[in-house]
């Protein structure tokens, strides 16, 4: 008969004592493993949610990017090129450019054949007093479009105003009752009304468009312009800085102003969507981290407490066991058993209790944790590192709890026991 057989027979004989201790270990390990499983699953869940959300965001951004490219291709965006010495504050306040630059700038820009610019419209415009009609108007001299880089992309933009003809803004046409083919006199020169514009709700409504050269003569600004409108500019993304740099390299002493377009609005919306998605993702991460932190804090209090109570309970049970087995200990000592042998009776029992408790506690904790998590599968119960941790923890717990009672048993005076029993 080996000591293992004796211990097992004793366990079966004093079942209540053993199972009380076993339940205590099972619960301790179940709490530990349940908490660790839950934390691990929370981490997995967080990682999965984040991955999904990141995937969604990337897909959405790609869709927006694609959309943006298409719209960009169709619409482009608008740039206004004006002399650099024009004060922007004055421009935005008056809506008028008061400085001038050479008219050949438009041709130079066209000759540069920038693929990013489709339409080049030089203009000379001034707010003037129209003495013949006693009112203030904006006179705009426009030459029509200058040939730009890529002919394939080009489409009709603005027709040039023929010499001696004028295009009349809505408000002027309405108030002066002008219609196409009417004649008007402007600064002593006669023009035929070519067209009257629809209402635009802007300064265009009080503007008159004439041929650029005629405008230069009337305004006494020969070979000068004060703005080049670059329409439907194309560039990748919304990176217009490159366009600005390109223009600055060709036309020294100009300033490039970006005019808000649908494309930019869309691009900004896309950026905002990206920022919102990132913010939502960050909020999700923060929420998961907070949950994890709360669970960690709770378990860092609960788990040691459970283990402490369990260790005390186990030690008490082992002391009761030692007391119940005084006669056995006395007999074994009388038969020549060493201290080590007597201690091993209790420590082996503790070891068995720890092993069983670890396995059952692991199963209980893991199954409960997996069942509580709808995303988990039963196979997730198998986690070798956690099983190892459960085994080590349970064995340490049971050996610590049984060590002192076992030592006490080994140090009992056999003479006292045998005389009393």
């Amino acid at each position: 008969m080996g000591i293992g057989r004796l211990v097992i027979k004793e366990i079966l004989h004093r079942r209540i004592n053993f199972f009380s201790g076993l339940v205590s270990i099972i619960l301790s390990i179940a709490v530990l493993i349940g908490v660790l499983f839950t934390l691990a699953m929370l981490d997995q869940q967080t990682a999965r949610v984040l991955a999904e959300k990141e995937k969604e965001t990337v897909a959405r951004m790609e869709a927006l990017q694609d959309d943006y490219r298409k719209i960009m291709k169709l619409l482009g965006f608008n740039l206004l090129i004006i002399p650099q010495n024009q004060k922007l504050a004055d421009y935005f306040e008056e809506g008028q450019v008061r400085e001038y630059m050479p008219a050949y700038y438009a041709e130079r820009l066209a000759d540069a054949r920038l693929v990013t610019i489709q339409h080049i419209l030089p203009s000379l415009q001034e707010r003037i007093y129209w003495p013949e009609k006693n009112r203030t108007i904006i006179l705009i001299g426009a030459s029509g479009e200058i040939a730009a880089a890529d002919a394939r992309l080009r489409e009709p933009m603005l027709a040039a105003v023929p010499r001696d003809h004028a295009v009349i803004g809505y408000e002027l046409a309405r108030s002066l009752r002008l219609k196409p083919q009417d004649s008007i006199t402007l600064l002593g020169h006669t023009f035929t009304v070519q067209n009257c514009n629809e209402e635009r709700g802007s300064k265009d409504d009080i503007s008159i468009w004439i041929d650029l050269q005629q405008a230069q003569q009337l305004l006494k600004r020969p070979e000068q312009i004060n703005a080049i409108l670059a329409l439907k500019c194309h560039c990748h993304g919304n990176d217009i800085d490159q366009v600005r740099r390109d223009i600055a390299a060709i036309l020294p002493g100009v300033r490039v102003i970006e005019q808000t377009s649908k494309v930019l609005t869309r691009a900004e919306a896309r950026d905002r969507a990206k920022e919102e998605a990132a913010a939502a993702l960050a909020a999700e991460i923060a929420n998961k981290k907070r949950l994890r932190s709360e669970l960690e804090r709770f378990s860092s209090l609960l788990t040691p407490l459970v283990f402490l109570v369990s260790a005390i309970w186990l030690a008490l049970l082992f002391f009761v066991n030692v007391r119940d087995r005084r006669s056995e200990v006395g007999l074994l000592r009388a038969c020549g058993a060493s201290d080590r042998k007597v201690m091993s009776l209790f420590l082996i029992k503790g070891l068995i209790m720890g092993l069983l408790g670890a396995l059952l506690g692991y199963l209980l904790g893991a199954v409960i944790a997996v069942m509580r998590n709808p995303d988990s599968r039963l196979i997730d119960v198998v986690n070798i590192p956690l099983l190892g941790l459960a085994l080590i923890t349970a064995i340490i717990l049971s050996l610590i709890a049984s060590w002192i009672p076992a030592f006490y048993a080994a140090r009992q005076d056999p003479a006292l026991i045998l005389r009393e029993e």
Binding site: R5, H13, L332, A334, C335, G336, A337, D413, R419
Partner: protein, 221 residues
């Protein structure tokens, strides 16, 4: 074989000194059957425990082949006990969850010696317990329990049996059987020290050591 020289034991209880065993001498030779007589509390059990190396005397020496038993290390003393002494008690001290066979084999566990199952079975047969081999102690009669205890004491072939009131719980028939087995052991060269207050049992010994309840009279008949 075993020599007790002026051994004594006292206990202190609530400030009072209690003499558990007044100074006593006893020499146990090979093949001797010695009875230790005295009323309850006279020190019979104390003497047996000291003789068996389980209780350190307050004075005197226990000599084994010229060596003082209590000068040995604790482990060495346990080892000597396992090879030389067989204890038998009035209360049997059988393990309740072990069968008769396993109970007989307990000394093997304590002494860490293997391969004694055959001898255990032989002893069980010898003591008339063949039909009880796999029974648990609660299924046995008092006489059977004491025979199991005796078989257990003999498993490792000790040189001395220290028996403490082993007939105290037995009827005369079973007491006779147990004493017969002790004689058999003595006839084979073993020695027996039997502590008893039973005059009939003591009468079967080669000699008797009497312990007085007054704690100050020790003599031999």
């Amino acid at each position: 074989m075993l020599q007790l020289q002026k051994i004594s034991k006292i206990y202190w209880k609530q400030g009072h000194c209690i003499i558990a065993l007044p100074p006593a001498d006893l020499t146990v030779g090979e093949g001797e059957f010695i009875a230790v007589r005295g009323a309850s509390g006279s020190g019979k059990t104390t003497l047996l425990l000291i003789a068996g190396g389980l209780l350190h005397p307050d004075s005197g020496h226990v000599l084994v082949q010229g060596k003082d038993l209590y000068q040995m290390e604790r482990g060495d003393r346990a080892h000597w006990r396992s090879r030389n002494i067989g204890f038998v008690f009035q209360q049997y001290h059988l393990m309740p969850y072990l069968s008769v066979l396993d109970n007989v084999l307990v000394p093997q566990l304590a002494a860490e010696i293997g391969g004694l199952e055959e001898r255990a079975v032989e002893l069980i047969h010898h003591f008339g317990l063949a039909s009880r081999q796999f029974h648990l102690p609660f299924e046995l009669s008092a006489g059977e329990k004491q025979r199991v205890a005796l078989a257990r004491a003999l498993l490792l072939k000790p040189r001395i049996i220290l028996a403490d009131e082993i007939t105290g719980n037995l009827d005369p028939h079973n007491a006779g059987i147990v004493l017969r087995f002790l004689h058999e052991f003595v006839d084979q060269g073993g020695s027996v020290v039997l502590a008893t207050h039973d005059a009939g049992a003591a009468a079967q010994a080669h000699r008797t050591l009497s312990l007085s309840i007054e704690k100050n009279m020790i003599g031999t008949e």
